[in-house]
Protein backbone atom coordinates (compact mmCIF):
# COMPACT_ATOMS: atom_id res chain seq x y z
CA UNK A 1 0.00 0.00 0.00
CA UNK A 2 0.99 3.62 -0.06
CA UNK A 3 1.96 3.78 -3.70
CA UNK A 4 0.68 7.33 -4.00
CA UNK A 5 2.84 8.51 -1.14
CA UNK A 6 5.88 7.53 -3.16
CA UNK A 7 7.55 10.20 -5.21
CA UNK A 8 6.96 9.16 -8.75
CA UNK A 9 9.98 8.74 -10.91
CA UNK A 10 9.74 10.96 -13.96
CA UNK A 11 9.66 8.31 -16.61
CA UNK A 12 10.74 9.35 -20.09
CA UNK A 13 7.70 10.01 -22.18
CA UNK A 14 8.77 10.14 -25.82
CA UNK A 15 5.27 11.02 -26.97
CA UNK A 16 5.65 14.39 -25.34
CA UNK A 17 9.14 14.93 -26.61
CA UNK A 18 9.62 16.78 -29.86
CA UNK A 19 12.87 15.13 -30.76
CA UNK A 20 14.22 11.62 -30.98
CA UNK A 21 15.76 11.53 -27.50
CA UNK A 22 14.50 10.34 -24.15
CA UNK A 23 16.09 11.36 -20.91
CA UNK A 24 17.05 8.79 -18.29
CA UNK A 25 15.30 9.68 -15.07
CA UNK A 26 18.20 8.50 -12.98
CA UNK A 27 21.37 9.75 -14.68
CA UNK A 28 19.60 12.30 -16.92
CA UNK A 29 21.54 11.12 -19.95
CA UNK A 30 19.86 11.75 -23.30
CA UNK A 31 19.36 8.51 -25.11
CA UNK A 32 18.31 7.90 -28.69
CA UNK A 33 14.71 6.74 -28.69
CA UNK A 34 15.71 3.84 -30.92
CA UNK A 35 18.36 2.64 -28.51
CA UNK A 36 16.03 3.11 -25.55
CA UNK A 37 13.47 0.88 -27.21
CA UNK A 38 16.04 -1.67 -28.21
CA UNK A 39 17.27 -1.85 -24.63
CA UNK A 40 13.67 -2.27 -23.47
CA UNK A 41 13.77 0.93 -21.43
CA UNK A 42 17.13 0.27 -19.84
CA UNK A 43 19.56 3.15 -19.74
CA UNK A 44 22.74 2.20 -21.63
CA UNK A 45 24.73 4.56 -19.46
CA UNK A 46 23.67 3.88 -15.84
CA UNK A 47 21.74 0.63 -16.33
CA UNK A 48 18.60 2.15 -14.84
CA UNK A 49 15.74 -0.27 -15.49
CA UNK A 50 12.69 1.86 -16.04
CA UNK A 51 9.30 0.36 -15.29
CA UNK A 52 7.48 -1.56 -17.96
CA UNK A 53 3.76 -1.87 -18.43
CA UNK A 54 2.36 -5.38 -18.24
CA UNK A 55 1.88 -5.34 -22.00
CA UNK A 56 5.48 -4.32 -22.65
CA UNK A 57 6.68 -7.06 -20.32
CA UNK A 58 4.46 -9.56 -22.09
CA UNK A 59 5.93 -8.61 -25.45
CA UNK A 60 9.40 -9.02 -23.98
CA UNK A 61 8.80 -12.49 -22.61
CA UNK A 62 6.11 -14.31 -24.52
CA UNK A 63 6.41 -15.45 -28.12
CA UNK A 64 4.39 -13.19 -30.40
CA UNK A 65 0.85 -14.38 -30.94
CA UNK A 66 1.02 -17.19 -28.40
CA UNK A 67 -0.62 -15.47 -25.43
CA UNK A 68 -4.07 -16.43 -24.20
CA UNK A 69 -5.45 -14.09 -21.60
CA UNK A 70 -7.36 -15.27 -18.54
CA UNK A 71 -9.92 -13.21 -16.62
CA UNK A 72 -9.70 -10.31 -19.05
CA UNK A 73 -12.99 -8.83 -17.88
CA UNK A 74 -12.43 -9.13 -14.16
CA UNK A 75 -12.66 -5.70 -12.54
CA UNK A 76 -12.06 -4.50 -8.99
CA UNK A 77 -14.89 -5.09 -6.56
CA UNK A 78 -15.66 -2.57 -3.84
CA UNK A 79 -16.48 -4.72 -0.81
CA UNK A 80 -16.17 -1.87 1.69
CA UNK A 81 -17.84 0.81 -0.48
CA UNK A 82 -14.73 2.72 0.43
CA UNK A 83 -14.32 6.46 0.19
CA UNK A 84 -11.76 8.79 1.67
CA UNK A 85 -11.14 12.51 1.74
CA UNK A 86 -10.27 12.55 -1.94
CA UNK A 87 -13.15 10.54 -3.29
CA UNK A 88 -14.38 7.03 -3.71
CA UNK A 89 -12.40 3.91 -4.51
CA UNK A 90 -14.81 3.21 -7.34
CA UNK A 91 -13.82 6.46 -9.01
CA UNK A 92 -10.14 5.77 -8.55
CA UNK A 93 -10.47 2.33 -10.06
CA UNK A 94 -12.35 3.81 -12.99
CA UNK A 95 -9.61 6.38 -13.51
CA UNK A 96 -6.97 3.63 -13.43
CA UNK A 97 -8.90 1.69 -16.05
CA UNK A 98 -9.12 4.75 -18.25
CA UNK A 99 -5.42 5.51 -17.85
CA UNK A 100 -4.07 2.03 -18.48
CA UNK A 101 -6.66 0.34 -20.62
CA UNK A 102 -6.50 -2.54 -18.14
CA UNK A 103 -9.28 -3.83 -15.91
CA UNK A 104 -6.98 -4.80 -13.06
CA UNK A 105 -3.39 -4.45 -11.91
CA UNK A 106 -2.41 -7.82 -13.30
CA UNK A 107 -2.38 -9.34 -16.76
CA UNK A 108 -2.94 -13.10 -16.49
CA UNK A 109 -2.78 -15.91 -18.97
CA UNK A 110 -0.60 -18.50 -20.61
CA UNK A 111 1.58 -18.64 -23.65
CA UNK A 112 4.91 -19.76 -25.06
CA UNK A 113 8.31 -18.66 -23.91
CA UNK A 114 10.79 -19.68 -26.59
CA UNK A 115 8.24 -22.36 -27.44
CA UNK A 116 7.86 -23.62 -23.85
CA UNK A 117 4.26 -23.45 -22.67
CA UNK A 118 3.90 -21.55 -19.41
CA UNK A 119 1.32 -19.82 -17.28
CA UNK A 120 2.21 -16.23 -16.57
CA UNK A 121 0.91 -13.29 -14.56
CA UNK A 122 2.37 -9.82 -14.97
CA UNK A 123 1.60 -6.91 -12.70
CA UNK A 124 1.26 -3.34 -13.88
CA UNK A 125 2.32 -0.67 -11.44
CA UNK A 126 0.35 2.04 -13.26
CA UNK A 127 -2.92 0.47 -12.16
CA UNK A 128 -3.41 1.74 -8.59
CA UNK A 129 0.25 1.18 -7.86
CA UNK A 130 -0.01 -2.49 -8.69
CA UNK A 131 -1.92 -2.91 -5.46
CA UNK A 132 -3.30 -6.30 -4.46
CA UNK A 133 -7.09 -6.24 -4.32
CA UNK A 134 -9.60 -9.04 -4.41
CA UNK A 135 -9.69 -9.21 -8.19
CA UNK A 136 -5.93 -8.93 -8.44
CA UNK A 137 -5.63 -11.92 -6.15
CA UNK A 138 -8.31 -13.68 -8.11
CA UNK A 139 -6.33 -13.34 -11.33
CA UNK A 140 -3.10 -14.50 -9.69
CA UNK A 141 -4.97 -17.53 -8.39
CA UNK A 142 -6.47 -18.17 -11.84
CA UNK A 143 -2.93 -18.25 -13.19
CA UNK A 144 -1.56 -20.68 -10.60
CA UNK A 145 -4.67 -22.83 -10.92
CA UNK A 146 -4.32 -22.88 -14.69
CA UNK A 147 -0.72 -24.01 -14.26
CA UNK A 148 -1.70 -26.64 -11.69
CA UNK A 149 -4.53 -27.93 -13.84
CA UNK A 150 -2.47 -28.11 -17.01
CA UNK A 151 0.80 -29.18 -15.43
CA UNK A 152 2.54 -26.04 -16.58
CA UNK A 153 5.25 -23.98 -14.97
CA UNK A 154 4.20 -20.59 -13.67
CA UNK A 155 5.91 -17.23 -13.94
CA UNK A 156 4.80 -14.22 -11.91
CA UNK A 157 6.27 -10.82 -12.62
CA UNK A 158 5.57 -8.56 -9.66
CA UNK A 159 5.39 -4.77 -9.53
CA UNK A 160 3.40 -3.57 -6.58
CA UNK A 161 3.26 -1.20 -3.66
CA UNK A 162 1.45 -3.85 -1.61
CA UNK A 163 -2.08 -4.42 -0.38
CA UNK A 164 -4.97 -2.31 -1.69
CA UNK A 165 -6.22 -0.72 1.49
CA UNK A 166 -9.48 0.43 -0.10
CA UNK A 167 -10.55 -3.19 0.07
CA UNK A 168 -9.53 -3.57 3.70
CA UNK A 169 -9.29 -7.12 4.95
CA UNK A 170 -10.43 -8.51 1.61
CA UNK A 171 -7.14 -7.21 0.30
CA UNK A 172 -5.06 -8.68 3.15
CA UNK A 173 -6.66 -12.07 2.61
CA UNK A 174 -5.42 -12.11 -0.98
CA UNK A 175 -2.01 -12.87 0.45
CA UNK A 176 -3.43 -16.11 1.83
CA UNK A 177 -5.46 -16.80 -1.27
CA UNK A 178 -2.57 -16.44 -3.69
CA UNK A 179 -0.18 -18.43 -1.49
CA UNK A 180 -2.75 -21.20 -1.28
CA UNK A 181 -2.54 -21.24 -5.07
CA UNK A 182 1.24 -21.45 -4.97
CA UNK A 183 0.99 -24.31 -2.46
CA UNK A 184 -0.91 -26.28 -5.08
CA UNK A 185 1.96 -25.82 -7.52
CA UNK A 186 4.33 -27.11 -4.86
CA UNK A 187 2.17 -30.15 -4.27
CA UNK A 188 2.47 -30.97 -7.96
CA UNK A 189 6.22 -30.21 -8.21
CA UNK A 190 5.54 -27.48 -10.76
CA UNK A 191 8.05 -24.65 -10.81
CA UNK A 192 7.12 -21.12 -9.84
CA UNK A 193 9.51 -18.45 -11.02
CA UNK A 194 9.03 -15.12 -9.30
CA UNK A 195 10.41 -12.10 -11.12
CA UNK A 196 10.60 -9.05 -8.88
CA UNK A 197 10.66 -5.72 -10.62
CA UNK A 198 10.63 -2.21 -9.27
CA UNK A 199 8.87 -2.04 -6.83
CA UNK A 200 7.87 -5.29 -5.13
CA UNK A 201 6.88 -4.37 -1.60
CA UNK A 202 4.36 -4.86 1.21
CA UNK A 203 1.76 -7.57 0.89
CA UNK A 204 2.97 -8.73 -2.50
CA UNK A 205 6.55 -9.21 -1.31
CA UNK A 206 5.12 -11.01 1.72
CA UNK A 207 3.11 -13.43 -0.37
CA UNK A 208 3.48 -14.92 -3.84
CA UNK A 209 6.55 -12.92 -4.84
CA UNK A 210 8.67 -14.51 -2.09
CA UNK A 211 7.68 -18.15 -2.32
CA UNK A 212 9.00 -19.05 -5.74
CA UNK A 213 11.35 -21.90 -6.49
CA UNK A 214 13.43 -19.23 -8.16
CA UNK A 215 13.63 -15.57 -7.28
CA UNK A 216 14.84 -13.32 -10.07
CA UNK A 217 15.08 -9.57 -9.76
CA UNK A 218 15.89 -6.68 -12.02
CA UNK A 219 18.94 -4.57 -11.13
CA UNK A 220 18.19 -1.84 -8.63
CA UNK A 221 14.58 -2.90 -8.08
CA UNK A 222 13.09 -1.85 -4.74
CA UNK A 223 12.09 -4.99 -2.83
CA UNK A 224 11.00 -5.13 0.78
CA UNK A 225 8.21 -5.53 3.27
CA UNK A 226 7.94 -2.33 5.30
CA UNK A 227 8.29 1.11 3.78
CA UNK A 228 11.55 3.01 4.13
CA UNK A 229 9.89 5.92 5.92
CA UNK A 230 8.16 3.70 8.46
CA UNK A 231 11.42 1.92 9.21
CA UNK A 232 13.34 5.17 9.58
CA UNK A 233 10.72 6.43 12.00
CA UNK A 234 10.89 3.19 13.96
CA UNK A 235 14.64 2.84 14.29
CA UNK A 236 15.23 6.61 14.31
CA UNK A 237 18.13 6.51 11.90
CA UNK A 238 18.64 6.91 8.21
CA UNK A 239 18.82 3.78 6.13
CA UNK A 240 21.70 3.07 3.76
CA UNK A 241 21.08 3.92 0.12
CA UNK A 242 21.19 0.34 -1.09
CA UNK A 243 18.70 -0.82 1.54
CA UNK A 244 15.90 -2.92 0.01
CA UNK A 245 17.46 -2.99 -3.43
CA UNK A 246 17.61 -6.21 -5.40
CA UNK A 247 21.35 -6.28 -4.74
CA UNK A 248 20.81 -5.92 -0.99
CA UNK A 249 18.29 -8.72 -1.00
CA UNK A 250 20.58 -11.00 -2.93
CA UNK A 251 23.36 -10.39 -0.44
CA UNK A 252 20.94 -11.33 2.33
CA UNK A 253 19.97 -14.58 0.67
CA UNK A 254 16.58 -13.91 -0.89
CA UNK A 255 17.33 -13.54 -4.59
CA UNK A 256 18.75 -16.28 -6.80
CA UNK A 257 19.78 -14.12 -9.73
CA UNK A 258 19.78 -10.46 -10.58
CA UNK A 259 19.18 -10.40 -14.26
CA UNK A 260 19.62 -7.80 -16.95
CA UNK A 261 16.28 -7.17 -18.65
CA UNK A 262 17.56 -8.08 -22.08
CA UNK A 263 18.64 -11.46 -20.73
CA UNK A 264 15.51 -12.22 -18.75
CA UNK A 265 13.74 -14.27 -21.38
CA UNK A 266 16.74 -16.44 -22.05
CA UNK A 267 17.33 -17.05 -18.32
CA UNK A 268 13.69 -17.96 -17.79
CA UNK A 269 13.95 -20.39 -20.67
CA UNK A 270 17.05 -22.04 -19.22
CA UNK A 271 15.45 -22.41 -15.80
CA UNK A 272 12.35 -23.97 -17.30
CA UNK A 273 14.50 -26.43 -19.20
CA UNK A 274 16.41 -27.41 -16.05
CA UNK A 275 13.05 -27.96 -14.36
CA UNK A 276 12.15 -30.46 -17.03
CA UNK A 277 9.58 -28.31 -18.87
CA UNK A 278 9.12 -29.03 -22.52
Amino acid sequence: MGWFSKKKKASPDPTKSKDVFVQCSRCHAHIFLEEWKEQVKVCPRCNFHDRLSARERLDLLIDAGSFHELGKDIRPGDPLLFADARGSYAEKAEAARAKTGMNEAVLAGHGRLNKLHTAIAIMDFRFLGGSLGGSTGEKILMTTEYAAGHKLPCIIVSASGGARMHEGMVSLMQMAKTCAGVARLRQRNLPLISVMTDPTTGGVSASYAMVGDFHLAEPGALIGFAGRRVIEQTIKQKLPDDFQTAEYLQEHGFIDCIVQRTELKSLLHSLLVYCGCS
Binding site: D84, G134, E138, M173, K177, A180, A183, M210
Partner: protein, 313 residues
Protein backbone atom coordinates in the same frame (compact mmCIF):
# COMPACT_ATOMS: atom_id res chain seq x y z
CA UNK B 1 -8.00 4.81 30.88
CA UNK B 2 -10.13 5.50 27.84
CA UNK B 3 -12.53 8.43 27.58
CA UNK B 4 -15.63 6.32 27.52
CA UNK B 5 -14.43 4.34 30.51
CA UNK B 6 -14.55 7.32 32.84
CA UNK B 7 -17.91 6.60 34.40
CA UNK B 8 -16.94 3.00 34.95
CA UNK B 9 -13.74 4.09 36.54
CA UNK B 10 -15.43 6.49 38.91
CA UNK B 11 -17.70 3.69 40.05
CA UNK B 12 -14.69 1.41 40.45
CA UNK B 13 -13.25 3.89 42.88
CA UNK B 14 -16.47 4.24 44.83
CA UNK B 15 -16.88 0.50 45.13
CA UNK B 16 -13.31 0.10 46.27
CA UNK B 17 -13.79 2.74 48.94
CA UNK B 18 -16.90 1.07 50.27
CA UNK B 19 -15.17 -2.29 50.25
CA UNK B 20 -12.32 -0.89 52.27
CA UNK B 21 -14.68 0.65 54.75
CA UNK B 22 -16.49 -2.68 55.03
CA UNK B 23 -13.23 -4.44 55.67
CA UNK B 24 -12.25 -1.93 58.31
CA UNK B 25 -15.50 -2.89 60.02
CA UNK B 26 -16.95 0.63 59.84
CA UNK B 27 -20.27 -0.68 58.65
CA UNK B 28 -21.78 -3.15 56.19
CA UNK B 29 -21.97 -1.57 52.75
CA UNK B 30 -22.66 -4.74 50.83
CA UNK B 31 -26.05 -3.58 49.65
CA UNK B 32 -24.62 -0.27 48.40
CA UNK B 33 -21.75 -2.09 46.73
CA UNK B 34 -24.10 -4.46 44.95
CA UNK B 35 -26.16 -1.48 43.92
CA UNK B 36 -23.22 0.37 42.46
CA UNK B 37 -21.96 -2.75 40.74
CA UNK B 38 -25.31 -3.29 39.08
CA UNK B 39 -25.31 0.29 37.95
CA UNK B 40 -21.79 -0.16 36.62
CA UNK B 41 -22.77 -3.25 34.66
CA UNK B 42 -25.62 -1.31 33.16
CA UNK B 43 -23.37 1.54 32.08
CA UNK B 44 -20.77 -0.85 30.75
CA UNK B 45 -23.40 -2.68 28.78
CA UNK B 46 -24.71 0.54 27.29
CA UNK B 47 -21.32 2.03 26.45
CA UNK B 48 -19.87 -1.18 25.05
CA UNK B 49 -22.94 -2.07 23.05
CA UNK B 50 -22.40 0.99 21.00
CA UNK B 51 -18.66 1.46 20.56
CA UNK B 52 -17.57 3.26 17.44
CA UNK B 53 -14.92 1.52 15.31
CA UNK B 54 -12.31 3.90 16.68
CA UNK B 55 -13.37 3.19 20.26
CA UNK B 56 -13.10 -0.52 19.47
CA UNK B 57 -9.55 0.09 18.30
CA UNK B 58 -8.84 1.65 21.66
CA UNK B 59 -10.35 -1.25 23.57
CA UNK B 60 -8.43 -3.76 21.44
CA UNK B 61 -5.22 -1.92 22.35
CA UNK B 62 -6.17 -1.30 25.96
CA UNK B 63 -3.07 -1.43 28.16
CA UNK B 64 -4.94 -3.59 30.67
CA UNK B 65 -6.32 -5.96 28.08
CA UNK B 66 -5.12 -9.50 28.83
CA UNK B 67 -2.13 -10.60 26.77
CA UNK B 68 -1.16 -14.10 25.71
CA UNK B 69 0.53 -15.01 28.98
CA UNK B 70 -2.65 -14.04 30.80
CA UNK B 71 -4.78 -16.18 28.54
CA UNK B 72 -2.41 -19.10 28.98
CA UNK B 73 -2.78 -18.88 32.74
CA UNK B 74 -6.53 -18.52 32.51
CA UNK B 75 -7.26 -21.16 29.90
CA UNK B 76 -4.74 -23.97 29.87
CA UNK B 77 -3.92 -26.54 32.50
CA UNK B 78 -0.45 -27.10 31.06
CA UNK B 79 1.94 -25.17 28.86
CA UNK B 80 5.40 -26.26 27.74
CA UNK B 81 7.07 -23.42 25.93
CA UNK B 82 9.29 -24.42 23.04
CA UNK B 83 11.92 -21.92 22.02
CA UNK B 84 13.78 -20.96 18.89
CA UNK B 85 13.62 -21.08 15.12
CA UNK B 86 16.64 -23.45 14.81
CA UNK B 87 18.29 -20.92 12.61
CA UNK B 88 18.90 -17.52 14.11
CA UNK B 89 17.14 -16.72 17.34
CA UNK B 90 14.27 -16.96 19.76
CA UNK B 91 11.84 -14.12 19.20
CA UNK B 92 10.05 -13.12 22.39
CA UNK B 93 7.29 -11.39 20.41
CA UNK B 94 5.88 -14.74 19.35
CA UNK B 95 5.76 -17.63 21.77
CA UNK B 96 4.48 -21.14 21.42
CA UNK B 97 4.42 -24.58 22.86
CA UNK B 98 2.32 -27.53 23.85
CA UNK B 99 -0.79 -26.71 25.84
CA UNK B 100 -3.76 -28.57 27.24
CA UNK B 101 -7.32 -27.24 27.18
CA UNK B 102 -9.60 -29.48 29.22
CA UNK B 103 -7.74 -32.64 28.25
CA UNK B 104 -7.38 -31.56 24.65
CA UNK B 105 -3.72 -31.36 23.72
CA UNK B 106 -2.74 -28.77 21.16
CA UNK B 107 0.02 -26.52 19.87
CA UNK B 108 -0.49 -22.97 21.02
CA UNK B 109 1.19 -20.13 19.15
CA UNK B 110 0.64 -16.44 19.57
CA UNK B 111 1.93 -12.91 19.70
CA UNK B 112 3.08 -11.83 23.12
CA UNK B 113 2.65 -8.19 24.07
CA UNK B 114 3.76 -6.73 27.37
CA UNK B 115 1.69 -4.88 29.92
CA UNK B 116 4.34 -2.46 31.11
CA UNK B 117 7.37 -0.75 29.65
CA UNK B 118 9.87 -3.46 30.55
CA UNK B 119 7.70 -6.24 29.28
CA UNK B 120 6.98 -4.34 26.11
CA UNK B 121 10.66 -3.78 25.49
CA UNK B 122 11.29 -7.48 26.00
CA UNK B 123 8.38 -8.46 23.76
CA UNK B 124 8.96 -5.68 21.24
CA UNK B 125 5.31 -4.64 21.71
CA UNK B 126 4.25 -7.92 20.14
CA UNK B 127 5.89 -7.02 16.83
CA UNK B 128 7.65 -10.12 15.56
CA UNK B 129 10.79 -10.45 13.48
CA UNK B 130 11.42 -13.14 10.87
CA UNK B 131 12.76 -15.53 13.51
CA UNK B 132 9.42 -15.27 15.30
CA UNK B 133 7.53 -16.37 12.21
CA UNK B 134 10.05 -19.11 11.54
CA UNK B 135 9.75 -20.39 15.10
CA UNK B 136 5.99 -20.42 14.68
CA UNK B 137 6.29 -22.45 11.50
CA UNK B 138 8.64 -24.92 13.15
CA UNK B 139 6.10 -25.47 15.91
CA UNK B 140 3.27 -25.86 13.41
CA UNK B 141 5.27 -28.53 11.61
CA UNK B 142 5.78 -30.32 14.93
CA UNK B 143 2.04 -30.18 15.53
CA UNK B 144 1.41 -31.59 12.07
CA UNK B 145 3.92 -34.38 12.67
CA UNK B 146 2.34 -35.40 15.94
CA UNK B 147 -1.27 -34.82 14.84
CA UNK B 148 -2.10 -32.02 17.22
CA UNK B 149 -4.35 -29.11 16.28
CA UNK B 150 -2.78 -25.67 16.10
CA UNK B 151 -4.37 -22.75 17.93
CA UNK B 152 -3.10 -19.26 17.11
CA UNK B 153 -3.75 -16.22 19.27
CA UNK B 154 -3.34 -13.01 17.29
CA UNK B 155 -2.43 -9.76 19.02
CA UNK B 156 0.06 -7.53 17.24
CA UNK B 157 0.31 -4.00 15.87
CA UNK B 158 2.08 -5.61 12.92
CA UNK B 159 5.35 -7.24 11.94
CA UNK B 160 8.33 -5.27 13.21
CA UNK B 161 9.34 -2.62 10.67
CA UNK B 162 13.03 -2.64 11.57
CA UNK B 163 16.13 -2.74 9.45
CA UNK B 164 17.28 -6.04 10.90
CA UNK B 165 13.90 -7.62 10.29
CA UNK B 166 14.02 -6.57 6.64
CA UNK B 167 17.59 -7.80 6.28
CA UNK B 168 16.62 -11.23 7.60
CA UNK B 169 13.60 -11.52 5.33
CA UNK B 170 10.44 -10.33 7.01
CA UNK B 171 8.62 -10.64 3.69
CA UNK B 172 9.93 -14.12 3.00
CA UNK B 173 9.17 -15.38 6.49
CA UNK B 174 5.59 -14.17 6.45
CA UNK B 175 4.99 -15.37 2.90
CA UNK B 176 6.35 -18.79 3.66
CA UNK B 177 4.21 -19.16 6.77
CA UNK B 178 1.08 -18.15 4.92
CA UNK B 179 1.84 -20.68 2.23
CA UNK B 180 2.69 -23.51 4.60
CA UNK B 181 -0.37 -22.88 6.74
CA UNK B 182 -2.59 -23.20 3.71
CA UNK B 183 -1.66 -26.88 3.41
CA UNK B 184 -0.68 -27.82 6.96
CA UNK B 185 -2.11 -31.27 7.59
CA UNK B 186 -3.76 -30.56 10.91
CA UNK B 187 -6.59 -28.28 12.01
CA UNK B 188 -5.71 -24.61 12.55
CA UNK B 189 -7.91 -22.49 14.74
CA UNK B 190 -7.23 -18.76 14.82
CA UNK B 191 -8.44 -16.33 17.46
CA UNK B 192 -7.84 -12.61 17.15
CA UNK B 193 -7.69 -11.56 20.78
CA UNK B 194 -6.65 -7.92 20.45
CA UNK B 195 -5.00 -6.24 17.50
CA UNK B 196 -4.85 -8.04 14.19
CA UNK B 197 -2.20 -5.97 12.50
CA UNK B 198 -1.93 -6.70 8.80
CA UNK B 199 0.70 -9.12 7.48
CA UNK B 200 2.18 -9.44 10.95
CA UNK B 201 -1.10 -10.99 12.06
CA UNK B 202 -1.66 -13.08 8.95
CA UNK B 203 1.81 -14.60 9.32
CA UNK B 204 0.29 -16.86 11.98
CA UNK B 205 -3.31 -16.24 10.94
CA UNK B 206 -4.25 -18.61 8.13
CA UNK B 207 -6.60 -21.29 9.37
CA UNK B 208 -9.72 -23.40 9.07
CA UNK B 209 -11.75 -21.23 11.39
CA UNK B 210 -11.14 -17.60 12.22
CA UNK B 211 -12.55 -16.34 15.49
CA UNK B 212 -12.51 -12.81 16.82
CA UNK B 213 -13.04 -11.41 20.27
CA UNK B 214 -15.95 -9.03 20.33
CA UNK B 215 -13.74 -5.99 20.81
CA UNK B 216 -10.76 -7.10 18.78
CA UNK B 217 -9.84 -5.51 15.48
CA UNK B 218 -8.26 -6.87 12.34
CA UNK B 219 -7.05 -4.57 9.63
CA UNK B 220 -4.93 -4.37 6.49
CA UNK B 221 -3.34 -1.19 7.83
CA UNK B 222 -3.49 0.72 11.09
CA UNK B 223 -6.18 3.43 11.10
CA UNK B 224 -3.46 5.99 11.74
CA UNK B 225 -1.42 4.79 8.77
CA UNK B 226 -4.44 4.74 6.53
CA UNK B 227 -5.50 8.22 7.66
CA UNK B 228 -2.09 9.71 7.04
CA UNK B 229 -1.99 8.26 3.53
CA UNK B 230 -5.58 8.66 2.35
CA UNK B 231 -6.71 11.60 4.45
CA UNK B 232 -3.22 13.09 4.63
CA UNK B 233 -3.94 13.61 8.31
CA UNK B 234 -3.08 11.06 10.98
CA UNK B 235 -5.70 12.59 13.23
CA UNK B 236 -8.44 11.35 10.98
CA UNK B 237 -7.79 7.83 12.30
CA UNK B 238 -11.38 7.51 13.46
CA UNK B 239 -12.61 8.13 9.93
CA UNK B 240 -10.16 5.59 8.62
CA UNK B 241 -11.15 3.09 11.32
CA UNK B 242 -14.75 3.37 10.19
CA UNK B 243 -13.92 3.10 6.50
CA UNK B 244 -11.62 0.08 6.97
CA UNK B 245 -14.36 -2.10 8.48
CA UNK B 246 -11.98 -3.56 11.01
CA UNK B 247 -14.37 -4.60 13.79
CA UNK B 248 -15.47 -8.14 14.47
CA UNK B 249 -19.04 -7.30 13.54
CA UNK B 250 -18.04 -5.77 10.18
CA UNK B 251 -15.76 -8.67 9.40
CA UNK B 252 -18.53 -11.15 10.20
CA UNK B 253 -20.68 -9.32 7.69
CA UNK B 254 -17.90 -9.53 5.12
CA UNK B 255 -17.66 -13.26 5.95
CA UNK B 256 -13.99 -12.96 6.75
CA UNK B 257 -14.55 -14.11 10.31
CA UNK B 258 -16.44 -17.22 11.32
CA UNK B 259 -17.54 -16.44 14.84
CA UNK B 260 -17.35 -13.69 17.42
CA UNK B 261 -16.36 -14.56 20.98
CA UNK B 262 -18.46 -12.36 23.27
CA UNK B 263 -16.80 -10.25 25.94
CA UNK B 264 -18.42 -9.22 29.19
CA UNK B 265 -19.69 -5.65 29.41
CA UNK B 266 -16.72 -3.37 29.87
CA UNK B 267 -14.47 -5.61 27.80
CA UNK B 268 -12.07 -8.43 28.53
CA UNK B 269 -9.88 -6.33 30.79
CA UNK B 270 -12.74 -5.70 33.22
CA UNK B 271 -13.43 -9.39 33.67
CA UNK B 272 -10.75 -11.69 32.35
CA UNK B 273 -12.15 -14.82 33.94
CA UNK B 274 -15.56 -14.47 32.40
CA UNK B 275 -13.89 -13.73 29.08
CA UNK B 276 -11.69 -16.79 29.42
CA UNK B 277 -14.76 -18.90 30.06
CA UNK B 278 -16.37 -17.72 26.89
CA UNK B 279 -13.14 -18.29 24.93
CA UNK B 280 -12.86 -21.79 26.36
CA UNK B 281 -16.36 -22.69 25.30
CA UNK B 282 -15.88 -21.48 21.75
CA UNK B 283 -12.43 -23.02 21.34
CA UNK B 284 -13.55 -26.41 22.58
CA UNK B 285 -16.56 -26.41 20.32
CA UNK B 286 -14.46 -25.66 17.25
CA UNK B 287 -11.66 -28.03 18.23
CA UNK B 288 -14.19 -30.82 18.57
CA UNK B 289 -15.66 -30.01 15.21
CA UNK B 290 -12.39 -29.55 13.32
CA UNK B 291 -10.62 -32.62 14.68
CA UNK B 292 -13.49 -34.76 13.41
CA UNK B 293 -12.95 -33.67 9.81
CA UNK B 294 -10.58 -35.89 7.80
CA UNK B 295 -7.38 -33.99 7.09
CA UNK B 296 -7.61 -34.19 3.31
CA UNK B 297 -11.08 -32.69 3.43
CA UNK B 298 -9.87 -30.04 5.82
CA UNK B 299 -7.17 -28.92 3.39
CA UNK B 300 -9.58 -28.74 0.48
CA UNK B 301 -12.01 -26.72 2.55
CA UNK B 302 -9.26 -24.41 3.67
CA UNK B 303 -8.31 -23.76 0.08
CA UNK B 304 -11.90 -23.14 -0.93
CA UNK B 305 -12.41 -20.81 1.99
CA UNK B 306 -9.61 -18.52 0.89
CA UNK B 307 -10.23 -18.91 -2.83
CA UNK B 308 -13.70 -17.46 -2.30
CA UNK B 309 -12.48 -14.26 -0.68
CA UNK B 310 -12.57 -11.37 -3.12
CA UNK B 311 -14.09 -13.36 -5.95
CA UNK B 312 -15.96 -11.08 -8.35
CA UNK B 313 -19.70 -11.49 -7.91
Amino acid sequence: MLDFEKDLSVLDQRIDELKQLSEQGEADFSAEIENLAAKQRQIAKRVYADLTPWQTVQVARHPQRPVLRDWIGLLFSDFIELHGDRCFGDDAAIIGGFATLENRRLMLIGHQKGKNVDENMERNFGMARPEGYRKALRLMKLAEKFSLPVVCFIDTPGAYPGMDAEARGQAEAIANNILEMSTLKTPILVLVTGEGGSGGALGIGVGDTILMMQHAIYSVISPEGCASILWRDGNRASDAAAALKLTAASLMELRLVDEIVPEPPGGAHRNDEATAASIRTVLLEHLKRLTRIPVSKLITRRFDKYAKIGQPL
